[in-house]
């Protein structure tokens, strides 16, 4: 969004300057760190209590009929969206597909996963189709692939969303959905439904990681409760997991940065440079954006590597790979708050557009739900309210990351003193991520 406000910020005056929020957030993290060092001497999160929801509710929610119903809904809804994408109006504002995919699906399921657990697994259309077709696979899933296919899938999706901007071309967007679906069917046919879905299918991995923040967890067909954050320490750090999380945070970093004047000015020079090197003029901005997205991911990866390298210096005999995989789950709350804070208003505002778009999905004057003439109410949250919610989310997420990192350090190092020393570096990483997050949000909001 282009800034157009003769030097005066558009947001209503905050009671204190924006920079104070960054300082305040950093202080909260340091105080949290000190409190953890003195009040949390033993690991508490590695073993998690789980108990089913009472009164048979947990069993009912995980029952076969509910599973079948969710699967059917999970296939039918995307089918309508793909149909609307192809058959609906050309423009992104009138076509159901961009809002359904980029807002409801991509952003909405982040919040649904954190609040209600792995709901995407229940409605995952590719999993449902794979199970319906009884795809059992012909080969074991290669261990070395780990979550790398998911990382590549997420990077491709964020490129489509942020760089190629296929959200403005509904037919191209749903064409990509069809292509991705065929890829998933091929993967499930070769390696089986569960191995492929749990490791290679990008959105299962993406929403599954966020679902580990939830207090709801399904075990053997029964939905139960666990403590907050309880799902993350049990994350198996397969190959590619660090890459997945770096794409999650790095893509939002690029999205925030690309809305600021600094990147826009630089991107024009960059695209100009690519054009001078022979890149077609029309493609030069896409090449520049691709480079920006990759730099965003590399920045986050480098930042994490710095924290790991620092932690190695405190001793304890832990190699870099063990540290890198040992602490990767601590980045998930950060990824969550980056996404949640950055896309909060997209969900709250553009999400309302679903009411009128879904009521007339192919633009033929239908009014299926009686909401075709509705519009978006921008008073659901004020601009200052948005800022406070964003700052609150960012601070909460980073404190959660510190808690997870401290708990894991106690396990890895065995000695509280060494664990705390190793976490000085992690504290630096968290303060850095917090400051970056607030700066990015300020860029986007200004």
């Amino acid at each position: 969004m282009i800034v157009f406000g003769h030097g005066l910020v558009q947001r209503a005056d905050l009671p204190i300057p924006e920079s104070f929020f960054a300082w305040g957030s950093a202080i909260v993290l340091v105080v949290s760190f000190a409190a953890l060092a003195s009040l949390w001497p033993r690991p508490r999160l590695e073993r998690v209590d789980w108990r089913p929801l009472p009164g048979g509710l947990g069993r009912a929610l995980g029952s076969r009929p509910v599973e079948v119903a969710c699967g059917a809904l999970g296939v039918a809804a995307p089918a309508v969206v793909v149909w609307a994408g192809f058959a609906g109006p050309d423009g992104p504002l009138d076509n159901l597909a961009p809002t359904a995919i980029l807002v409801f699906f991509w952003v909405g399921f982040v919040f649904l996963s954190v609040l209600f657990g792995d709901v995407f697994r229940a409605v995952n259309p590719w999993r449902a189709i794979g199970r319906l077709l009884r795809l059992r696979g012909r080969a074991p899933y290669p261990e070395r692939l780990g979550r790398w296919p998911a990382a590549a899938g997420l990077l491709a999706f964020t490129w489509i969303e942020l760089v190629a901007l296929w959200g403005e071309a509904p037919r191209t967007l749903v064409g990509a959905v069809v292509a991705y679906s065929l890829l998933q069917l091929a993967g499930m046919a070769r390696f089986g439904v569960e191995p492929w879905i749990s490791r290679a299918e990008a959105f299962s991995v993406y929403f599954g990681l966020f679902a580990r923040l939830s207090v709801f967890e399904t075990r053997e067909g029964v939905v139960g409760l666990r403590p907050p954050l309880g799902g993350l320490p049990r994350l198996e750090a397969l190959p590619g997991t660090v890459a997945v999380v770096c794409v999650m945070i790095g893509s939002v970093t690029y999205d925030g940065f690309s809305q600021g004047r600094a990147w826009r000015d630089f991107a024009v020079d960059l695209a100009d440079g690519f054009a001078a090197l022979g890149v077609p003029l029309a493609e030069a901005p896409t090449v520049a954006g691709t480079l920006g997205l990759l730099l965003g991911v590399a920045l986050v990866a480098g930042f994490y590597a710095l924290g790991v390298a620092g932690a190695r210096t405190v001793g304890g005999g832990l190699d870099a790979d063990r540290l890198r995989r040992g602490f990767v789950h601590t980045l998930v709350p950060i990824a969550m708050v980056y996404a949640a804070a950055h896309y909060l208003t997209a969900l709250l505002f553009q999400g309302q557009a679903l009411a009128y778009l879904a009521s007339d999905p192919v633009g033929r004057g239908w009014d299926l739900f009686g909401t075709a003439s509705s519009a978006i109410d921008y008073s659901v949250i004020s601009q200052n309210g948005t800022w406070y919610a964003q700052v609150g989310l960012v601070v909460l997420g980073h404190v959660a990351a510190l808690v997870l990192a401290h708990d894991r350090a106690l396990v890895l190092y065995g000695q509280p003193r060494l664990a705390v020393r190793s976490q000085y570096w992690m504290l630096g990483v968290m303060v850095g991520f917090t400051t970056l997050a607030l700066w990015l949000l300020a860029q986007a909001n200004a």
Binding site: M1, I2, V3, F4, G5, H6, G7, L8, Q10, R11, A12, D13, L93, V163, L165, E168, S258, Q259, R264, A267, V268, D269, A271, D272, A275, L281, A282, A284, P285, T286, G289, T345, F349, A353, Y356, S374, A375, I376, D377, Y378, S379, S382, Q383
Partner: protein, 296 residues
Amino acid sequence: MRRLALAAAVLLAAGCGGASGARDDGKRSARLVDPSKKPPYVNALDIDPADGHFLLTTNRGFYRIDPRTKAVRTVRGEVAAGGRRSPVGTFLELDAIGPRKLLGSGHPDRTDAGLPAYLGFMRSDDAGRSWRVVSRLGEADLHKIVALHGRLYAFDAVLGAILISSDGGRTFTERFTPRGLVIDFVVDPRDPRYLLAATEDQLFRSDDEAATWRAVDTGEGIRLAWAGETLLRADKDGTVLRSEDRGATFARVGEVPGEPYKFKSLDAERHYLALSDGTIVETRDAGARWTTAFAP
């Protein structure tokens, strides 16, 4: 949408603006605006019914322009509120509601005058020489004020809301607008509940008096005018379009030689448009042909 902006910027930077680029010949005058500063360059254009003079406010100040002689006179206004005073004129929004009677909003030119940065809703009965604050001192920065249907409509950049008043601006109802600064809005002359509003890259409509909004089109820097049967739109690249269906669709009808900023409509056929350097162009056929009414 951001990519569209970037692509346009790249095309211009590469010297390939072509038909889609603003027709900026590099000879923009700096007499009435300071192009070295960040936009906006022009804040308001109106006509004083007392003498037919243009009233133009920019990032340099407040000017009264005689359309016949082309003489330009700087209006040195002063705002008073709470026993404090400050010169006022730069970044000033104004709307002429009668001979020498202006409604306005803006910022004090002297930051050390003790007045808040946002002057709220103001009124002048002497053609802008003296201003008194009516309401919302320190709270509102009204970028556009429209007096129509016996009401006042204004976009407040502080709240990000359309403010509507039925008591001459003493009290307002707040209606939140789409995120992003609203750079222009118009009210249907036949329907007080129907509004169109443009942000930097999108056009929205509301049919419930600004309570809810729907995006209807994309476009950079859209400026709007609505008088009688004519709804005009001017895009940042100078293209002028007209709508016959209340803004649902637009068709290209003409172009202006620069970046459009502020419309002033006299009737369905006659409209003036201030460009980014303070040039004022005029159409007498609802946007098809434009001639220069004033060049700085």
